[in-house]
Assembly symmetry: D2
Homo-oligomer: 346 residues x 4
C-alpha cells in the first residue's frame, strides 16, 4: 500500500500514521517529495484492512498495490485450476460447452433441450429451477420439482447439471440435486449466499454482477473460497452500460483480464449479454477466440413459447452452427472441445 | 403495450399474434403503416407478462406503456404516503433526518453517535449491525449483539432505529429489535430478502441498487408491497458511473422522478454516494432543496477510528452546520423538520 | 508520481528507470517492500509527461499524484476567480442566473424569451445560433443571423449574451457578437476549438462532456487557459449513465468537487441534464443549495412550437417559481442573486 | 412513429396532434385503449423531425420506429459495401489488417513500423500526425511533416495510409496526403469535421465515440454520407464503462449489431480499447471471430520509447502471433486476409 499525504500534512500527522501501521504489525517507509510526502506500507494487506487509513489526519489518498483477494489470485498459484463438474473438466486446455434451457418448464421440454445441447457439443446441461425475476408477476421457476426434472434428464442423457440457487436457505436442497451451483448476476454480492455456497461441497459457477468490477467479482469468489470451496468457475455475462442496442455489453476483455489475475477458469455467457438470438453465435465465437475456458448458452426446442428469455435461445439450424464452432474453433487457440461424458458413467 | 412488427412480417404472423393476445384475455388493434404494422394491446399489463411476445414470428419490438409496477405506482394512488417509524413520520410535508454510525461498534460509540444525531436534528437513528462488505477480510458487523446495543440506545434517547438486514433468514430476528428494516444497495434484487421483508410487519427502507434503474427500484418495492407491506421508504444512495472522483454519483434527479412515479416517500443518502465528509453537507442541502422527504447521514464521534466508512462520517462542527440546514432549508420547499420523539413515548 | 514495479522486476529494470527519470531532470526514490518495489518521483509532473513510464520493462503501474492541470488548479491559486461577462460577475458570493431560448428562432421569440429571463432574475441571456445536432436532418441553427438577433436583443434588454460556437473557424466571428462563448458538451475535447477559444479575448463557458470525468473537464479548461484565457466558467450539464428516466444524470456532486479542485466558477444546467420541464425547478434548487455559482436554464415563450428542446423549456408560471427560488435560496448558502445590468450600461 | 398520450389527455389534445401531423404531410391513426390512447404516425420520419411532438399538450411519450439514419442504413441497401483504400478492399469477404504506429515520430520509426505491419499481414498503414491529447502538455503530433513521412513510407512500402484529422480546417491538407481520413473517438460528434470529411473525396474511417450509442455512431456516419461520401468504414474502439481494469471496454457486440443495421464495413481497434499489449491479441482474435471486416492495431519498433500509447503497441514476437492469427482465423468465418498491394502499384 502507498499512502499519499496532503500538501499540508504535518510531521505529527506522519508520525501518527507510522505508529498506527507499526501497531498493526506493519512497517512504513516515508519519502518526502517537493510538494507531497509518500508513505509506503510493507506487510500483508489483510493486516491493514481494519485500519481506516483514509480517515487519518493529513492523509490525501490510499493506493492499494497487492490484490485484495488471496485464495483466488494467480499471484501465489501460477498453474491454472481445472474444475470438475460431475467428472467433466472446465479449465486447462479444454473448451467446455454448457447449454440448456433458460428455465426448466416440463420434463419433455428439458429433455428435448438437453438433446439439443448434446448435439451442439455440450458436456454440461444448464437449466433454471429457481428464477430471479425483476417483476414479481413474472414466472418464478418450478423450484424443487424443476431440480427433479433436471436429475431425471441427467439420468437419461448422462449430462451433469448446473442450476441456479437464489437463497442461502436453499443451498443444501439444490446441492442435493445439482453437480454445480450457479450464483446469478443479481446475487454476486449476496454474501450469505456466497458463504453458503462455499460450504455446499459442489463446484460453483459464479456469474459476474452486471455492475461489478472484475476486482469485486474476484472478491466475491474469495468469499466462496474462504469457506473452503476452491472449485469455482467465473462467468462473464455482460455488464450494464449506456448502450441499449444489446441487453448488456459483453465485456470480452474480462476473459483474458480475469485469467491473468486469477487461476480459476473463466467462461462467457453470450445469451444473456446480447439478449438476441442472432448475436449468440458471433459472441460465442468471440469468446472462444479470446481464450475463454468455456461458453454457456441458452437452447430451447420452441423459443416462441419459452416462459423465460425465448428471444435469446438457440434452436433449429443454430445448433448445427454452434456444433461446428465448438468443434473447429478451439484448435485456433490451443484448446479442444470437452467431450460429453458417456451415459454409463452417470 | 405496443408491438412493432418487422417490415417482412406476414399477415399470418399478425393473425397469430392477435389470437395469442385474445387467448390471454386481451384485445389487439392493428394499424398498418407504410413500412410497418403496429399492434396495440388493450388490457392489464400483468396478463401479458407470461406471453413471450418478442419471440413471436414477425415481431420486431415490444414497447410497454403502463408501468410494470402497480401497488407502488402513483397512477392509482394520487395522495403521497406517510410512513411511520416508531411514531416518527416520513413523507407528507415533513423533512425527516435519519443519522447515526455506519456500523455499531460499542455501546459508548453508538450512544455518542445517537446524541450527535439528535443534536443535528435527527428523529430516527441509523446503525449497522449486519454489514455487507466487499471483502471477506473486512469487519462484518456485530450481528445480534449490535441490535441489542441499538435497542438500548433507543431506550436511552427515544430515537426509533433503522438497521440493515442482509439475509432472509435474519429478517424476523432483526425485526424483533428494529423499528424499520433497511435493505441495502447490494441486496436490492435479493428477491428472497425482499419477500421476507414484505412479511416482517415493520416498515422497510429500500436503498436503490447502485446499478439499478428507477424502474427496477420500484419493481423491487413492488416485491415487498406484494407481500402486504406498503410501509416502504425509497432511498437514493448514488449510482455507479464512469466518474471516479466520488465513490458513487448521487442521482439527484431520482428524487423528483421517483416521487412522480410512486406515492412512496423518497429520501437521499449523501454519505454513501459522495463517500467524502466534505461532500455530505452540500449534497444534503441539494437533496432537501430538490424536495426529498428526508436525508440519512453517517455521524461518528471519532471518524478516524471508525471500523467502517470513517472518511464520510460527519463529526464535530459538521453537526452544527447540519442542524442549521435541517432547521432552515425545508421551509424553502414547503416542508418542516420532523421533531425527535419525546423519550417518554418510547 | 509513484511507480509500482512488477513482482519480477530486476535490479537492472529499476536502475534503468532511475536513470530515465534523472535524464528528464527528476529524482527517483526507491523503496523495496516484501513483494514489490516502489519508486517515488520528485519533480514537476510536466517533465515526466513525455516519458512513457508504463512501457518501461518491469513497471507494473504508474500512479500520478499531483493534478495534471496547473493553471486552473486551486492548488496554487487559493482565492476563487470571479469572471465578468459584459460586466456581470459570475463567482465569488454571487449566484448568477443565465436564461434564454435553447435556439434563436426569430427576433420576436428571442426578445420574448429575454424578457422572461429577466423576469426570472437572469442577468445574462443564453441562446443558440449554431446548434450541434445528432441528426443532419434536424434544425441546425440560424448561424450569423442568429448572432445578430442576439445582439439586437442585448441592445434592447441590456443583458449580455452567451452563445455556442461549434467550429474553430467561427470563433472570431461569434466572439465579435457575444459577451461569452459557450463550448458544448460534444466539443469538450475538440482541442482545436478549445485553443481558438483560448485566443478569442472573451470569457468561455465550458460545458462538461457528457462522458467526461471531472479531471478531463479540467484538462479541457487547461487547454483554454494555456492560450492565455483564464476567464472560464465550468458548467455541469449531466453525464451519460445507464438510467434512462432522465435525458442525462445531473452529477450534482461535480459542483463541490470541481470547486474544490479548481478556482474557476462552476454553474449547473438543469434543463439539458433532466430534459423535462418538471425537473428543471427541483434541479435548479438542488444546484443552488449545493453551492453552484450559477444556473443556466432554457426558457421559451411557446415551448410547444420550439424548434429545439421544447420539452425542457420553462414557461408561464414556471418563471415566477424560478424568480422566487433565485431571490430567496442563495441566502441559505451565503450568496445573493446577481442583479441584471442597467440597460444604459450596455 | 408512435405517440403515447397521457392518461388525462383530452379529445382536443388528440385532435390538435392529428392536425399537426396532417399539416406536416403525414397521417395519424388513433387507437383508444383502456387507460391510454395511442397515435400511430405514417409517413417519412424526416418530415416529423422538425415537429416537437413531445411538447404537444397531452403527449406522454414519442416512440420512434424507423431508423433515423437513411443513407447508411441497411434497410434500403441490402448488399454490404466494399470500401477501397488506395486499391485495398475493406468489407465483403475480406478481413483487412491495418497496422502502424500510434504516432508518427521519425522517418526511421515509421518505416520500421510499416515493415512490422507488413510482416504481420497488414495491407494498410496507420499512423498519427495530428494527435488529440487530453493534456495540452503531451506530445501533439508532427502535423504536416508527419503526413510527409507517411507519404514517403507509402512510396517505400506500397501500403496506402490512413491518418487522423482533428480540425475541419485541416481536412483538405490531410486529404492531399492520405488514402483515408480517420475521425477519432473524441471528434465523432464534431459535426463541422464530419461535414468537411464528407466533401474530402477520400474514404473515411469513423471511430465510435467512447460514449456514443451505436445509433449516434450511425448518425455521425450519416453526416458524412449526406455530403456525398459513402466510402465510410466504422471502427469500434471501446466504450467508457465503470470497469477500470481496461482503458475502455471493447463492445464486441457492436460489430454484429452495426453490421446488421448498416451496409458499411465494421472493423475493431483492440489496441485503444484494451490499452495493454497483452490484451491486443486475444481481442484481435475475438473481433475476427465475431465477424469484423478488419482489425486496426498499434505496432512500434521500440514501445518503451514511444511518444504515445507505448504500453499497447505490439512488437517483437507479437508480430508473428498476429500474422498467424490474420492468416488462419478468417477462414473460420468465411473470410480471407486481404493481401498487401504490390509496391509497383503505388
Amino acid at each position: 500500500m502507498v499512502i499519499v499525504m496532503a500538501p499540508d500534512a504535518t510531521p505529527e500527522n506522519i508520525d501518527s500514521l507510522v505508529e498506527l501501521v507499526a501497531s498493526a504489525g506493519g512497517e512504513a517507509y516515508v519519502t518526502r517529495g517537493v510538494s507531497r510526502t509518500i508513505v509506503g506500507l510493507v506487510g500483508d494487506v489483510r493486516q491493514f484492512e481494519t485500519l481506516d487509513l483514509r480517515a487519518m489526519p493529513g492523509v490525501s489518498d490510499v493506493l492499494r498495490i497487492s490484490a485484495p483477494y488471496k485464495l483466488v489470485s494467480r499471484e501465489n498459484h501460477e498453474s491454472r485450476t481445472v474444475v470438475r463438474v460431475g467428472g467433466v473438466p472446465i479449465g486447462g486446455d479444454n473448451m467446455t460447452l454448457i447449454a440448456g434451457p433458460c428455465a426448466v418448464e416440463t420434463p419433455e421440454q428439458t429433455l428435448a433441450a438437453a438433446q439439443m445441447a448434446k448435439a451442439a457439443g455440450a458436456s454440461v446441461l444448464r437449466g433454471g429451477a429457481y428464477k430471479p425475476r425483476t417483476s414479481p408477476y413474472a414466472f418464478q421457476g418450478l423450484g424443487e420439482s424443476g431440480c427433479k426434472i433436471l436429475a431425471d434428464v441427467r439420468a437419461e442423457t448422462g449430462l451433469p447439471i448446473v442450476t441456479e440457487v437464489v437463497d442461502a436457505a436453499d443451498v443444501d436442497l439444490v446441492a442435493g440435486y445439482a453437480d454445480m451451483l450457479q450464483i446469478g448476476t443479481r446475487n454476486m454480492q449476496n454474501f450469505a449466499l456466497l458463504q453458503a455456497a462455499g460450504e455446499a461441497g459442489v463446484p460453483v459457477l459464479l456469474k459476474r454482477g452486471m455492475n461489478a468490477t472484475i476486482e469485486e467479482w474476484l472478491m466475491a469468489a474469495e468469499y466462496i473460497a474462504q469457506r473452503g470451496n476452491l472449485d469455482i468457475v467465473l462467468c462473464e455475462r455482460g455488464i450494464r452500460t449506456f448502450e441499449k442496442a444489446t441487453r448488456n455489453t459483453l465485456d470480452i476483455s474480462a476473459v483474458p483480464v480475469a485469467q491473468g489475475l486469477s487461476h480459476l477458469p473463466v467462461i462467457a455467457d453470450p445469451s444473456h449479454s446480447g439478449g438476441k438470438r442472432e448475436l449468440v453465435l458471433p459472441l460465442s465465437r468471440a469468446a472462444v477466440a479470446a481464450g475463454a475456458d468455456g461458453v454457456i448458452v441458452d437452447v430451447h426446442p420452441a423459443p416462441e413459447t419459452a416462459l423465460c428469455d425465448g428471444p435469446q435461445a438457440l434452436s433449429g439450424s443454430d445448433i448445427t452452427e454452434l456444433a461446428e464452432m465448438a468443434t473447429n474453433l478451439p484448435a485456433m487457440v490451443g484448446r479442444s472441445l470437452t467431450p460429453a461424458p458417456e451415459r454409463v458413467g452417470v
